[in-house]
């Protein structure tokens, strides 16, 4: 918490130096004794920890690999290719993310399902995580919500550079997502079996919620709530 420090010359007592050192030793000793004798509160939310009272230590750190602080919901983690319920990627190989990428770290090769005359899919979808600058433009550019950075992970360290190049097999993971406006759900697709199609339609969500999702915004700010308010206002004014 910032506070203003008055800049003025030391008074006589402070110029004697020893009394202030002894006081400082007292302060440090208080911390030492508390931290030495009392166990620490392990709450990863450090501001919520019990500190400064009898019986708990003053500790403010985490034993990192074992205890981790939670990331903000908007944290841009490792990419993932969002799968559909049938296990295929939502990606339609439109090259929008590769075009938007300022680091040019996305490589896509498009292919077609042999039985489906309309839909494309990525035969190859490769991201060089070493080159990625984690700007999130690919997520913003995607019209199909097919690439997300919601995994909450760092890209794992490796001994070879080759291991940092993630292909579509490694990228395709995480919970599947379907939307009611998905073309393959509305008109059906020969590549999706009929019973699977019914399940996908049943689980489809009405809205596309990524970047303007309330989870990824400041607490209290909700695009959907604001939109509902505006709609209500418009209805009332009529």
């Amino acid at each position: 918490m910032p506070y203003q420090v008055e800049n003025r010359p030391p008074d006589l007592r402070e110029r004697m130096y020893f009394p202030e050192i002894i006081r400082g030793i007292g302060t440090i000793t208080r911390h030492f004794v508390r931290n030495f004798f009392f166990a620490r509160d392990k709450n990863p939310d450090i501001l919520e920890r019990r500190r400064g009272e009898f019986g708990v230590s003053d500790n403010v750190t985490l034993a990192y690999p074992e205890e981790r602080a939670a990331y903000a919901p908007a944290y841009r983690g490792l990419h993932r290719l969002v799968p559909r319920e049938d296990g295929k990627p939502r990606c339609v190989a439109c090259y929008m993310c590769a075009t938007a990428c300022p680091a040019q770290c996305i490589y896509i090769e498009a292919g077609e399902y042999p039985d489906d005359p309309i839909e494309k899919y990525p035969v190859k979808f490769v991201i060089d995580e070493m080159r990625c600058i984690v700007c999130g433009f690919c997520v913003e550019a995607c019209p199909k919500d097919a690439i997300r950075m919601d995994s909450g992970e760092h890209s794992p360290p490796s001994y070879e550079r080759a291991a940092q190049i993630w292909d579509e097999k490694r990228l395709l993971r995480g919970p599947p997502i379907s939307y009611q406006y998905d073309p393959w759900l509305r008109r059906g697709s020969p590549s999706i079996p009929a019973d699977k199609l019914e399940e996908m339609r049943a689980r489809a969500r009405p809205f596309h919620t990524v970047a303007t999702d309330e989870y990824s915004q400041t607490p209290g700010f909700s695009v959907r709530a604001l939109a509902a308010e505006a709609k209500e206002r418009a209805a009332r004014s009529k």
Binding site: F18, P19, I22, G24, I25, I28, H31, F32, A63
Partner: protein, 447 residues
């Protein structure tokens, strides 16, 4: 709460362990003295050899190397951190102690780098010159009281010989301390010179000027104690501190010589070249006089600093804190209550406990204060420490001249301690002078 109980148990175990260790030391010294006597050699030689092994190699070296771990762990506790805990033995970090082995292994297996065109002989000699004098200093620290040999071993034929937990008892006493301590400046300045590196040279020059300056006040600070206890020998100073002076309060050095204590402590701190006096090794400007040293050659200089902490704790304990007198109980009562061996062991253990407390105090100050500027260091030495030490010598001499029983000196010292405590406890800063409206406007505008 389980940690509180564990820590209390740990402290109790450490105390009991120190008593047991001291008893083992006495038995080792007595045993070797007995062996020497039966071989027809002077028994005091045998005791000295046993003391070199037990006190200098076990107590001093182990506490110095444990201090390297303690510096991390204790500083973490002071700064609300956890501290070194990554090396785990069976799932516990053991307070960071395994880092000792890791550090030693790292030092020993590091690549040896030698600068081109260095003065080879001096370059190789400097770490030893920095380490050896510091190492030798511990010889005069009296850890335990002198006990008759037959009380330790139980053979009546050797009655006259006394065994003390002290390697050497030279008559020059503290003069030995000053003489050997001033030798260690050669190691640092030669290291700086022989490395053929301008930063190392700067560090060496800083080290030599700082150490030579502070030797003056270091010596003068102890002159008051020499006058008060009428001896140069540390063991006699410790004995003198057992006599009561004001009522039951014993004539502790810190009571008779509070100013001497402060000046000596600060000067010896400066001699050990550690923060806040770590000008010779500023990491951000000049790396230090050891910038060209790697591996164990650096390790020796590094270890020498920690040994100096142990030495300083030992000297301060012996001269100012009552030495091996266990201040919580009366020494004479203890001598008559328990057997001589356990009396010696408890006394030596109380010396070690005081030493540990002093080491802790030094690490606390090291983590408390930012470093001085070089002119501030010299000003502190020549303008504050030296006059204070000289005034202390004169006041001590005058007080002893008026009242040879040390009562007057003790009252002066008690008054000084009370004054220091009062100034320390006085409320922080004086209230700010009233600021007129104009000043407020400026403050609000961010001036």
């Amino acid at each position: 709460m389980s940690r509180l109980i564990g820590m209390l148990i740990l402290i109790a175990v450490v105390l009991v362990g120190l008593v047991g260790l001291s008893a083992v030391f006495y038995l080792a010294a007595g045993g070797l003295a007995f062996v020497f006597a039966s071989l027809g050699l002077p028994p005091s030689f045998g005791a000295a050899i046993a003391n070199v092994v037990t006190l200098m190699l076990v107590v001093m070296m182990i506490s110095a190397s444990l201090l390297t771990v303690a510096e991390r762990k204790w500083s973490a506790l002071m700064q609300n951190r956890i501290g070194a805990n990554r090396i785990k033995v069976f799932g516990t970090s053991l307070g960071g102690i395994p880092f000792l082995l890791a550090d030693a292994l790292k030092m020993l297996t590091k690549e040896r780098i030698e600068p081109a065109q260095s003065t080879r002989l001096l370059y190789e000699l400097a770490p030893a010159l920095a380490f050896a004098p510091v190492f030798a200093l511990f010889a005069i620290v009296p850890i335990g009281p002198a006990l008759p040999l037959h009380d330790i071993i139980g053979s009546a034929s050797l009655g006259a010989t006394k065994i003390a937990l002290q390697v050497a008892q030279p008559d020059v006493g503290l003069i030995y301390l000053f003489a050997i301590a001033s030798l260690s400046v050669y190691g640092t300045s030669l290291a700086g010179w022989a490395s053929n590196n301008k930063l190392a040279l700067l560090g060496g020059v800083r080290a030599s000027s700082q150490m030579i300056s502070y030797e003056v006040s270091l010596g003068l600070a102890l002159v008051g104690s020499m006058i008060a206890f009428r001896s140069l020998k540390l063991e006699e100073m410790v004995l003198a501190q057992g006599t009561p002076v004001i009522g039951p309060i014993p004539a502790l050095g810190i009571l008779l010589q509070p100013v001497g204590f402060l000046v000596f402590f600060a000067s010896a701190f400066a001699e050990s070249k550690r923060a806040p006096f770590d000008l010779p090794e500023g990491e951000s400007e000049i790396v230090g006089y050891f910038v060209e040293y790697s591996g164990m050659k650096f390790g020796l200089m590094f270890l020498a600093e920690f040994i100096e902490i142990v030495i300083l704790s030992g000297i301060v304990t012996a001269v100012f804190l009552g030495g091996w007198h266990p201040l919580v109980v009366n020494t004479e009562w203890l001598r008559q209550t328990v057997s001589p061996l356990w009396f010696g062991a408890i006394c030596a253990a109380s010396f070690l406990v005081k030493m540990i407390l002093m080491m802790w105090l030094q690490l606390t100050i090291r983590w408390l204060l930012p470093r001085f500027r070089f002119d501030q260091i010299q000003k502190l030495c020549w303008k504050i420490m030296l006059p204070a030490a000289i005034a202390n010598v004169f006041i001590t001499g005058a007080a002893l001249l008026i009242d040879p029983s040390m009562k007057l000196l003790a009252w002066i010292g008690a008054g000084t301690l009370v004054a220091i405590a009062a100034i320390t406890a006085a409320a922080g800063r004086a209230p700010a002078p009233a600021v007129e409206e104009h000043g407020h406007a400026h403050a609000a505008a961010g001036h």
